[in-house]
Amino acid sequence: MSMTFLNIEFLVASAVGLLTAAGIYLILRRRTFPVILGLSLLTYGVNIFLFASGRLMVNAPPILNKYAEVPYTDPLPQALVLTAIVISFGMTAVVVMIALAAYLSARDDKIDMPHHPEDEGEDA
């Protein structure tokens, strides 16, 4: 337990980094489904990032205690993350549906669009 990286900040920061990295990697894949997975991971990453921007505290939930003077963690980032979670849920739902619609219409779930540069005749 004396290893220097065994601290909350390191664990959280590395989790952010890992989730972000995994998210980025998957977003760069060529099918819609892995991209959606990547977006999910990236969302975790950024939510934790935003959460950690209020610094980290253990056993100090921002629920006011009428009876004792206790420490409270920063409630604001929590509220922000809540909003962000909800919004990204809506976004995920939409992107899943559009991806599905695209797949069903084109019978192909490649995320890169087929490219048809029409060769036109002389244009004058």
Binding site: I27, T32, V35, L39, L42, T43, V46, N47, F49, L50, A52, S53, G54, R55, L76, P77, L80, T83, A84, I87, S88, G90, M91, V94, V95, I98, A99, A101, A102, S105, A106, I111, M113, P114, P117, E118, E120, D123, A124
Partner: protein, 521 residues
């Protein structure tokens, strides 16, 4: 308490659910309510503009919580101008959409349209950085719906890309906000300005990262190269009247850059020095050029106009990147112009593609060819920034503002050469679409119906209704054209307003004081 500030946000937020709940199945009623809402919105915007034109900055404390603890709406000249612009555009496009029957080609158009307006206007009015994020998301998610309105394979495919790309942008937004909050401990923009100014010089790196990430977020919205890739495919594949509405969306990005980088990270601030200046100008110039090249290289009408929009964003951002009162004034004037011009050309493009399909090739003469040709020609002039329309004046203002900048030759060269390429591209497209058609004999045949998404055309769609020429779309087009003409004739007053706005932006103390009260050092 001046409730007019919240009115343009709440109004569509009430009308949209009302439409969904009560009149969803009655197209006529839906249209009436949607249109009424847009008209009312315009009226409110006019009142707001009148109020803002006194130079006073008004603050609306939501939930009665004072800044920086609650969220505030702030009305200054800039936000009033943008709200007014949005309302004007909204009304015209609403008319067009109703006239062309686009709103009937899929579900929930008007509700999404109202929500879209709510998002855009909310973004212009808010004085809170996180709330800006929320309203970005509102306007984005509504735009996703509008973008894929009525469906179609390519539209869905482009839709996926549009959403994914913007989700990346939203993620970056959160990274930026987290960083800024973590450094400063606040979210209110005025408060951010105060606190950022007090950041000690020996610990600026993290704030700089946050500031630049924020700038990049807005740059994505504003389609700055190389963050613009979302734009061409999504605008070109969206229903073109929707793309016309989207003309304001890129401006949201430009607006946010202006707001943040005058109010919070002002040009004189040492902490964030060089963040925008270092790359925004070259990027803006490349944007302009790529857009112009895209116009010449487009083989589809929607894509052509989409690149036109990119070009105008390049010009606009060039002006913004100069970051002087003159250049910002020029940028604001150009914003008015380019929004109307892009929307105008998108609507004309829709008139064309409804009749001839989306390809820029010579085809049989379309119905109402003459009138549409005139519209296209004027739209092209506007887009290319040729005289006599306001685009030329806007460009001259930008060129003039760049006179003393170190990169003046690059700026002038790019703007002028970009204009030339734009002209060539527009001339090419116009002569193919309108002139070459005359050399093709009129032969009525069954296979000439060239609906862009014909294979997936909704069975419920009444194709007869689709092709029936209606007056309302032309009314909408002429309304936009009149807007451009008015902007040209009254260039003096308009640029005067822009100057006053720029002056207000470059004196952020008024804004800050209005939001936070007397600032105690």
């Amino acid at each position: 308490m001046n409730h007019f500030l919240i009115a343009p946000v709440v109004l569509p937020a009430l009308v949209a659910p009302f439409i969904i709940m009560v009149v969803r199945h009655h197209m006529d009623l839906t249209r009436i309510f949607s249109l009424a809402s847009t008209v009312l919105l315009l009226a409110i915007s006019l009142v707001l503009a009148a109020q803002a034109s006194t130079g006073e900055v008004q603050v609306y404390e939501l939930g009665n919580w004072s800044a920086p603890f609650g969220i505030v709406l702030v009305l200054d000249r800039l936000s009033a101008m943008m709200v007014l612009l949005t309302s004007v555009l909204a009304l015209i496009i609403n008319l067009y959409v109703i006239g062309s029957g686009w709103d009937k080609r899929g579900a929930n158009f008007h509700a999404l349209f109202q929500f879209q307006l709510m998002g855009i206007i909310g973004a212009f009015l808010t004085g809170d950085a996180f709330n800006l994020f929320v309203f970005f998301e509102v306007l984005l998610i509504a735009s996703y719906g509008l973008m894929i309105h009525s469906g179609g394979t390519r539209r869905f495919q482009a839709g996926v890309q549009y959403v994914v790309y913007n989700l990346l942008g939203s993620t970056l937004f959160l990274f930026a906000l987290g960083t800024l909050y973590s450094v400063t401990g606040t979210l209110n923009m005025a408060d951010l300005a105060v606190r950022v100014a007090e950041i000690p010089a020996e610990d600026t790196a993290l704030l700089r990262v946050g500031a630049v990430m924020l700038l990049l977020v807005f740059a994505i919205k504003a389609a700055v190269i190389p963050l613009h890739f979302w734009l061409p495919a999504s605008y070109a594949n969206a229903p073109l009247p929707v793309a016309a509405l989207f003309a304001i969306m890129t401006k949201v990005g430009a607006y946010a850059i202006l707001r943040m980088y005058t109010l919070v990270f002002g040009p004189d601030l040492g902490t964030t020095e060089g963040l925008a200046g270092a790359w925004l100008m070259p990027a803006a110039l490349v944007t302009l050029m790529i857009g112009a090249i895209g116009i010449l290289g487009s083989y589809r009408i929607g894509r052509l106009v989409a690149f036109g929009a990119i070009t105008s964003m390049g010009t606009l951002l060039t002006a913004i990147a100069l970051f002087s009162p003159e250049s910002v004034a020029a940028a604001l004037y150009y914003t008015l112009h380019s929004t109307l011009a892009a929307a105008f050309l998108f609507l004309v493009a829709d008139l064309i593609s409804e009749r001839q399909g989306i390809e820029i090739t010579a085809q049989r003469l379309m119905p109402q060819s003459g009138l549409i040709a005139v519209l296209f020609f004027t739209g092209a002039i506007a887009m290319a920034g040729m005289p006599p329309l306001s685009g030329f004046l806007g460009k001259l203002l930008v060129l003039d503002a760049a006179r003393d900048h170190g990169m003046v030759w690059w700026i002038w060269g790019t703007i002028l050469i970009g204009s030339l390429i734009t002209i060539l591209g527009m001339a090419r497209a116009g002569s193919l679409l309108f002139w070459k058609s005359h050399s093709i004999p009129v032969a009525p045949s069954a296979e000439t119906s060239q609906q862009p998404y014909e294979e997936e055309a909704n069975e419920q769609d009444d194709t007869a209704e689709r092709s029936a020429p209606a007056a309302l779309p032309f009314v909408a087009c002429f309304a936009l054209l009149s807007g451009l003409i008015l902007l040209t004739i009254f260039a003096g007053p308009a640029s005067h307003y822009a100057e006053a706005t720029a002056a207000q932006l470059f004196a952020p103390e008024i804004y800050i004081e209005a939001v936070l009260g007397k600032v105690t050092p």
